[in-house]
């Protein structure tokens, strides 16, 4: 079984729109939305949720006022400044390390497990989809990413699917690292801007660090043709397959507004054949 993870470094380059487009033409695949922090793939997939499970991400300290003698040891120990002077734990600042819990001389601090989000198994018009929603201002996005990817894998095994297409998060930090490990290949979707180029380089460095092969494609390539050429040359230098370039087209936004993938919205024409060709090249390299 193979897994293609779509990433970008920079946000807003078109990861989700392209993932959805590929899902609409890929045969026998499972979809996975690993951008659990700001998941958008469901807006195009209109999933029919079959199973909903709470994501119990971590623990948070809670001081029991009746037992607390206000000795102040917890405040001294907490390196996250999460305990206020009135001995109430700030839920946002609490890192869940449990140091105050273990070392409180009065055993006055509870450590309940908290729900950090939900994850779902759904049906879509293009097959099964595993996705999630991290709670607002929550931590542990990496754990949830790992979980949805594992569940997508189980689903693919169960349904005898040979491919998982995963929509990844932006950046190069925790959730991205959790998205990269064990992937067959990454598709890096970039744009021909100084920031797109800069952020792509950092992502390629991360992929090299974790030894995961990459492919590159440029979205909105005609906004800066020289920059696109620079990205193509860079890919060639690094021996990274360049799988194609897509022009800037307001049809992407229009298709999103009606909740369709770009290939459903534009079934024929140059744009759709460009995207289909990119998909063919990706398949060759997977």
């Amino acid at each position: 079984m193979k897994e293609l993870v779509v990433l970008s470094g920079k946000g807003g380059t078109g990861k989700t729109s392209l993932t959805a487009a590929f899902a609409s033409i890929a045969e026998s695949s499972v979809l996975c939305d690993a951008d659990v922090d700001a998941a958008d793939l469901h807006l195009l997939m209109d999933p029919d949720v079959r199973e909903r499970t709470d994501f119990m991400g971590g623990n948070i300290a809670k001081i029991v006022a009746e037992k607390c003698t206000m000795c102040g040891q917890c405040i001294d120990l907490c390196r996250f400044d999460a305990i206020r002077d009135d001995f109430v734990v700030d839920k946002i600042d609490c890192e869940g390390c449990g140091v105050c819990v273990d070392l409180c001389p009065e055993h006055a601090i509870d450590f309940p497990v908290v729900k950090c989000g939900e994850w779902y198994i759904s049906d879509t018009r293009f097959g099964a989809m595993v996705h999630a929603r991290l709670g607002i201002a929550e931590e542990n996005s990496g754990k949830l990413v790992t979980l949805v990817r594992q569940e997508a894998k189980k689903m693919a095994e169960k349904k005898h699917m040979e491919l998982i297409i995963t929509d990844g998060p932006p950046g190069v930090g925790c959730p991205v690292i959790a998205s990269v490990g064990g992937a067959t290949a990454l598709l890096v979707v970039t744009e021909p801007t100084v920031s797109g180029h800069h952020d792509m380089l950092r992502l390629l460095e991360l992929a090299a660090h974790f030894k995961v092969p990459c492919m590159v494609c440029v979205n909105k390539f005609d906004l800066n043709v020289e920059q696109t050429t620079a990205i193509e040359m860079l890919a060639a230098e690094k021996g990274i397959p360049f799988v194609g370039k897509i022009p800037f087209d307001p049809a992407f936004v229009k298709s999103m507004v009606v909740g369709k993938t770009i290939l459903e919205y534009r079934q024929e024409g140059e744009l759709s054949s460009t995207i289909k060709k990119i998909w063919e090249r990706i398949r060759e390299h997977l």
């Binding site: 070392l103 100084v194 507004v257």
Partner: protein, 285 residues
């Protein structure tokens, strides 16, 4: 005053708004790029970096001669940093959250010391409109909040501080927005933009910070975001229509206010409106 620029969805124009507003204000501004995973502001304001330091977070190192394998450290650690198998003690420093629990419980003097795990670079310099600070997270490092906190330590409250925040709604963006005076949310009128904006607004409300909206590429999409802003009583402080010239200038690392100076006044007006809303909020509370 501290203004953070956030969005939920990536690529909506946070950096565009943060950098153009900073440059439009002319002088005495402090621009802090807290998107340490993918910092981009420097590409547009070309700062002269005067100071660069590598920053670290504390992780345990165990002196095997002094360790008695009592397991207290591995028992307290919730992040599985310390593992004991038979007579071997192993550490996985990349998982460490630097809580200090292992040191606090170790009964043997000097058996655990704290050493540094490199988080990345903290750089400071100057640009046309004032001071510039950013963090560049080390590739392979997972945790961005500690480095974001280091960037935020360089805030000068008596200046106008503009924070370019990372995308999303989880810990990195919360770390960047927390305790700022105003959150400027940049969105685009598309279903993705609106969906992620709603999440970001929930996060800002949780933090109790006054906020307002900039709608970028305001003529591409639908009207839902205006409707949402009305029902949520969310002030729309600026609209930037899609303009190929803006997109092309951006692609080359040029500021809007350089290629289209007429925007300078609009960004100054944007700042004045933020100032007014933030004062009104202060008076109300």
């Amino acid at each position: 005053m501290i203004i953070s620029v956030a969005s939920g969805k990536g690529g909506t124009g946070k950096t565009t708004v943060a950098t153009n507003m900073a440059v439009s204000l002319g002088a005495g501004v402090r621009l802090l790029d807290c998107d340490v995973e993918e910092p981009n502001a420097h590409l547009f304001v070309s700062p002269v970096i005067e100071q660069s330091e590598t920053v670290f977070t504390a992780v345990p190192e165990i002196d095997k001669d002094k360790c008695t394998l009592c397991r207290k450290c591995s028992d307290i650690c919730r992040f599985n940093v310390i593992a004991i198998a038979g007579k071997t003690i192993l550490t996985f420093p990349e998982l460490c959250h630097s809580c200090g629990g292992c040191i606090a419980v170790c009964p043997e003097e000097g058996a655990i010391t704290e050493v540094g795990r490199e988080l990345g670079l903290l750089e400071q310099g100057v640009f046309d409109a004032g001071d510039f600070v950013h963090g560049r997270m080390r590739i392979g490092e997972a945790m961005s909040p500690p480095l974001i906190k280091k960037v935020r330590e360089r805030i000068k409250p008596d200046q106008i501080n503009i924070i370019d925040a990372p995308p999303g709604t989880s810990c990195p963006v919360i770390t960047a927005m927390k305790d700022t005076d105003f959150v400027l949310m940049v969105t685009e009128p598309t279903p993705f933009g609106l969906h992620d904006l709603k999440l970001a607004v929930e996060a800002v409300k949780l933090l109790g910070i006054p906020h307002g909206l900039v709608i970028n590429r305001s003529d591409m999409g639908n009207d839902d975001v205006w409707q949402y802003a009305r029902t949520e009583n969310l002030p729309i402080l600026m609209e930037i229509p899609f303009d190929r010239a803006i997109a092309e200038a951006y692609s080359r690392g040029r500021l809007m206010v350089e290629s289209m100076p007429e925007w300078k006044g609009k960004f100054q007006e944007l700042f004045r409106r933020i100032e007014k809303l933030s004062k009104a909020w202060e008076n109300r509370n």
